[in-house]
């Protein structure tokens, strides 16, 4: 049960990571990138088309993570404490904090992308999209490290 949910959580996170990275680069990257380069094509997506997907994937990922967290607390965390993986636990604490803050930002992010663009809303779009991208990347990397910590030999 926990393993199935964790794999699902990871798969949704991969999709979310792709969507938010595409959108963040499409929003922020300089417009003089060569259109035929990989970078040029990567950012040449219509950013607004990712908004609903990002919101839905974030919510699903958060929900799955919140359920898996129950198993983590009982089965995994005591082992990490016993083996003195304090840094990993600190990074995981930050992950849960960042993800929670991202949850609160999600409605504003959605509204920004739904509103007609002007100077102020463009800045808001960039700020909130970068913030969510940072949160998603942090959550993904830390989750990956915690999942694989047994193989790191720390």
């Amino acid at each position: 049960m926990a393993t199935t949910l964790l794999i699902l959580h990871g798969l949704v996170a991969v999709a979310l990571l792709g969507a938010i990275t595409h959108q963040a680069l499409a929003t922020c990257a300089p417009s003089n990138a060569k259109p035929l380069s990989f970078f040029g094509r990567f950012r040449a997506v219509p950013g607004a088309g990712f908004t609903n997907a990002v919101v839905i994937l974030y919510l699903i990922s958060w929900l799955l993570g919140a359920v898996v967290y129950l198993f983590f607390k009982i089965d995994v965390q005591p082992g990490l404490e016993r083996d003195r993986h304090w840094h990993a636990l600190g990074f995981f604490d930050l992950k849960e904090d960042f993800v929670a803050i991202g949850l609160g930002v999600l409605p504003a992010y959605w509204i920004c992308w739904r509103s007609p663009i002007n100077g102020q809303s463009r800045q808001m779009r960039i700020a909130l999209t970068l913030l969510l991208a940072l949160i998603v990347w942090w959550g993904f990397l830390v989750g990956h490290i915690i999942n694989n910590i047994g193989g790191f030999g720390w």
Binding site: A66, Y69, L70, F71, K73, I74, Q77, P78, R84, W86, H87, L89, G90, D93, L94, E96, D97, F98, A100, I101, G102, L103, G104, V105, L106, P107, A108, W110, I111, S115, P116, N118, Q120, M124, A127, L128, L131
Partner: protein, 121 residues
């Protein structure tokens, strides 16, 4: 051209800012709306520590979780602030929009500060 901003927009921006602020406060002060004991499948209203009622060395038998309670506390406070913001004049929308990303960034920095003890162990 200045477009009228619906009250819902003000609610949403204020909600995002207040949620982050209240989450950081709840995290710092331990203000969880409820406490979850996953190994027992129990949810208790308010903040409870196993070691307050049992020997600290037995704490691992009933690990408590506050994260869900912190989120609930932050959401409850943020809804109240959002409603107030929606009732305030529309000219404050620029302020709420600015808060909508600046306060979450500040709250994340505060959370980094609160996590430092883990890295001193």
């Amino acid at each position: 051209m200045v477009m009228p901003v619906p009250a819902f927009h003000r609610f949403v921006f204020a909600f995002g800012a207040a949620f982050a602020l209240f989450y950081a406060i709840a995290r710092a002060r331990g203000l969880a709306l409820f406490t979850v004991y996953p190994s027992q499948g129990i949810v208790l209203f308010g903040m409870h520590r196993s070691r307050d009622v049992a020997d600290p060395v037995l704490d691992f038998l009933a690990p408590e979780m506050y994260w869900y309670g912190w989120i609930a506390s932050a959401a409850a406070g943020a809804v109240a602030v959002g409603v107030i913001a929606a009732l305030l004049p529309a000219r404050l929308c620029r302020f709420w929009a600015w808060c909508g990303w600046a306060v979450p960034v500040a709250a994340m920095i505060a959370c980094v500060y609160l996590t430092i003890p883990w890295f001193r162990l």
